[in-house]
């Protein structure tokens, strides 16, 4: 026995048919579950050239292999599909309670194809699967619809259902929309919400109660207990948040970037991901003024976004399933300026950065409101922030006129105008309608392409590649370009991957200038980062577990115990490599050209910034990406995996296996 359920559910919305299919064991051995299983299935089953918003696209929901085994930090579920934003592979990752709920219904993944005639929701309780009329919920925001579904279904279900659903942004097929659960956790990237909206699928409601299998539960629990006891002892004194900004300033000027995995967990436990905001503003990690500003433009903004201010209004911590860390929280925002709601999930670093320093917005209260507004609408805050930043810069430079912006004075830091514009984007009204499909489409329509920060169509996450060039490699080379979660140089230092992987170079303190080169060693580091992240996704793990390092969150030991295997780290890293290669092959099959993806000039440091910690830096991104592809065994000019690599990873035989 291992931790897999052995079945997947296939739903065709056009015909209303369901199929439960057995997955051969060799597939799990090759790609685990989660993103790996999705890559295998979508590569085989989405025909080349499928319309991302058409019936042939398949929307996949999958928890990872370790979900439900008792392993900590494994409550993530991955949504995957062909992305309408980039035209290639799209995926998004989310926490909450939905991951174990999929497995408790008896499936390792749910694949939805076709388009329903009228709005429906999928209900499954492990015994029956039904499509039900979603007319009463269509049009409601994600949180209201989730509450309404709970009101209707809780009394008639033995087990309280877990619900993943779209908000109005997804219903209106906004290409920067995501899929929500738990009143504000959102799988936001790659436009997955638009795909769900195009299928007229409002929600997936799961109320199964099957016990979840595991090969050696006691061993898995012992590993978790060890980690849990360490975390319980970890606390920081209150009031330290004020030092984060100056600390970041020092980090920005140090010749090297130090980071320790246990330090990350301490900070996330104390403040959540907001701990990074003040640090990022002063260290050069966080983009300012649409990626063109320097910390001088946001002087003392680190005090405004001091995470201690958020901790003061936190009513309780929020933990995703199986998470002992609890980086989330519930905030009481009633009565605050701009607030139209009573409560919101604690805004993530990405949201604060995208609507704070990126727009030179000085109002924390407006970000609390924007956070809840976007969560309810089901819109990606990273993409929305980048798009608003483009609009502001275009307005300031005369590319957009006041008539075009519906009378909004889009100046840097104009909080009221930002709020009004986001409201319009969510409702797809007037000028907001043009912006609701992301910055690429907006700039194609209005001009100002030089201010449009997107990589292959997707807006990049809020970490500056000039501060961490490794990130720039993944922004471009990742099959879902623009994602910030695949790897960072700083993270590599914290993870100690060299201790589980024989070919991963040892991490050591090094001058930042070394990261600007295109050496084979750096390519191996970026490859190791990407492979490990894919492995974590296959296992359903959280990136914050990953950042703790292999000595705190022992992924390899967890997998061996949960699956009853006895493989070493190299074998598992190859699983990660296989998943990455499958995703790249998906892109090639769909006609997506990896070589056409490039980092916008500004993000590469062309021209270089005149001051601050990123002064004078220009990336050798193209060369670094080529070296990264070479390390993967892909063609370094086209990004197409070489025949020998595909054979080595056994992908040809894998793609011949069908459920």
């Amino acid at each position: 026995m291992n931790s897999f359920m052995g079945k997947i559910l296939r739903v065709d919305l056009s015909t209303g048919r369901f199929e439960s299919l057995d997955v051969p064991q060799e597939v799990y051995e090759a790609v685990l579950a989660g993103k790996g299983l999705e890559a295998w299935y979508l590569y085989n089953n989405i025909p080349a050239g499928a319309d991302p918003l058409g019936p042939e696209n398949i929307l996949a929901f999958a928890p990872g292999a370790l979900c439900g085994t008792g392993a900590f930090l494994t409550g993530r579920w991955t949504v995957a599909c062909k992305s309408p934003l980039t035209g290639g592979w799209g995926d998004a990752n989310c926490g909450g309670l939905f991951a174990p709920a999929i497995k408790q219904c008896g499936y390792d993944a749910i694949f939805v194809s076709g388009i329903a005639e009228k709005p429906v929701y999928l209900f499954c309780d492990g015994k029956t699967v039904e499509l039900r009329d979603a007319a009463p919920y269509w049009g409601l925001d994600a949180t209201e619809a989730e509450l309404a579904l709970h009101r209707e279904l809780d009394p008639v279900c033995r087990k309280k259902p877990c619900i993943a659903l779209i908000g109005p942004a997804g219903e209106k097929c906004s290409l920067i929309s995501g899929i929500c659960n738990e009143g504000g956790r959102i799988a936001a990237r790659s436009g997955v919400g638009a795909v769900m909206g195009s299928k007229k699928l409002k929600a997936v409601v799961l109320a199964g109660a099957r016990p979840l299998p595991c090969a050696d539960r006691e061993k898995v629990q012992a590993l978790s207990r060890e980690l849990g006891r360490k975390l319980l002892k970890m606390t920081l004194p209150n009031g330290l948040g004020v030092f984060l900004g100056p600390g970041g300033r020092a980090m920005g000027h140090l010749p090297y970037m130090p980071l320790d995995g246990s330090m990350t967990s301490l900070m996330f436990r104390q403040w959540g991901t907001q701990a990074n905001t003040s640090l990022a503003i002063t260290s050069g990690d966080g983009p300012i003024k649409n990626w063109a500003g320097t910390p001088k433009d946001a002087r003392l903004m680190d005090m405004v976004y001091n995470p201690e201010r958020i901790n003061k209004i936190e009513s309780a911590k929020y933990h995703c399933y199986s998470c002992p860390l609890g980086c989330g929280g519930k905030l009481n925002i009633r009565g605050r300026k701009y607030a139209e709601f009573d409560e919101t999930h604690k805004p993530e670093y990405e949201t604060i950065e995208a609507f704070g320093p990126l727009l030179l917005n000085w109002s924390m209260d407006s970000i609390l409101q924007l956070n809840e507004l976007l969560n309810r609408a089901g819109m990606d805050s990273i993409s929305a922030g980048n798009t608003v930043a483009w609009a502001i810069e275009c307005y300031e430079n005369g590319i957009l006129t006041k008539e075009q912006t519906d009378g909004l004075e889009l100046n840097w830091g104009n909080t009221e105008a930002i709020l009004a514009l986001v409201n319009k984007m969510v409702a797809r009204e007037g000028f907001g309608d043009a912006l609701a499909d992301g910055v690429k489409r907006a700039s194609e329509r209005f001009g100002g392409k030089e201010y449009a920060m997107h990589v292959g169509g997707q807006e990049p996450g809020m970490h500056d590649a000039r501060n961490d060039p490794q990130l720039g490699i993944h922004f471009v080379a990742e099959p879902a370009p623009g994602k910030h979660t695949v790897g960072m140089g700083i993270e590599y230092g914290a993870m100690s991957l060299c201790d589980i992987c024989s070919w991963a170079p040892p991490a050591r303190l090094h001058p930042k200038s070394r990261d600007l080169e295109d050496t084979e060693e750096l390519a191996l580091i970026s490859k190791a980062n990407a492979c490990y992240t894919m492995l974590v996704d296959g296992a359903g793990g959280c990136y914050y577990g990953q950042m703790m390092g292999v000595h705190m969150w022992k992924l390899i030991d967890y997998l061996n115990a949960a699956e009853g295997w006895d493989y070493d780290g190299d074998h598992y890293m190859e699983i990660g490599e296989r998943i990455q290669c499958l995703r790249q092959l998906f892109n090639i099959k769909q006609g997506f050209d990896p070589a056409a993806v490039k980092l916008p000039d500004r993000m590469q440091g062309i021209p270089p910034l005149p001051s601050g910690p990123l002064k004078g830096i220009t990336l050798k991104n193209k060369e670094q990406v080529a070296a990264h592809w070479r390390a993967f065994g892909w063609d370094d000019k086209t990004g197409v995996p070489l025949r020998s690599t595909v054979e080595r990873l056994g992908i040809r035989t894998l793609t011949e296996v069908t459920p």
Partner: protein
């Protein structure tokens, strides 16, 4: 009737929520407010009368903070009452406690159903049609369908 139910050692709980999700009847909710060290946090709380004593929460807890303790308890059944019934004896998930040996008739008394109306009701226990004299067991789901207004 002797049943077990979980008791928590909140001091070592890390609020991971594994127990609440493992519970097949959602008897645990992460809503008890407390402190974990200096942090305000939420912990699992047992909803009164929902637990079936299966012990899955304790088995799933990696931190070993859940202990199953024996308690004396009444039988619990889930009731899907007909329109217009008195739901005060039912909890928010429509479960009610009844003494051992109760029948469907006792359920009708519990929800104060008019005896004249009761004669018209179609009764099911666990999805199977049955007479009003059917003796109930712990965990049964009792459904009523009123042919006039629906069920």
């Amino acid at each position: 009737m002797i049943k077990q139910q979980p008791v928590f050692d909140y001091l070592n709980c890390v609020s991971c929520g594994i127990c609440a999700q493992a519970c097949p009847v959602s008897a645990l909710e992460m809503k008890k407010e407390g402190k974990s060290g200096k942090y305000r946090n939420i912990f699992p709380e047992l909803l009164p009368g929902v637990c079936i004593g299966c012990g899955q929460c304790a088995a799933s807890c990696p931190m070993e903070v859940i202990r199953m303790e024996e308690v004396e308890r009444l039988m619990r059944v889930k009731i899907l009452p007909p329109h217009g019934s008195d739901r005060r004896a039912l909890d928010e998930r429509s479960w009610a406690e009844l003494p051992e040996g109760s029948t469907v008739r006792d359920v009708l008394k519990l929800i104060r159903c008019n005896p004249a109306k009761a004669r018209l009701l179609l009764v099911s226990v666990n999805g199977e049609r049955c007479p009003l004299s059917r003796e109930l067991r712990d965990g049964d789901v009792v459904g009523f369908f009123f042919p006039v207004s629906g069920g």
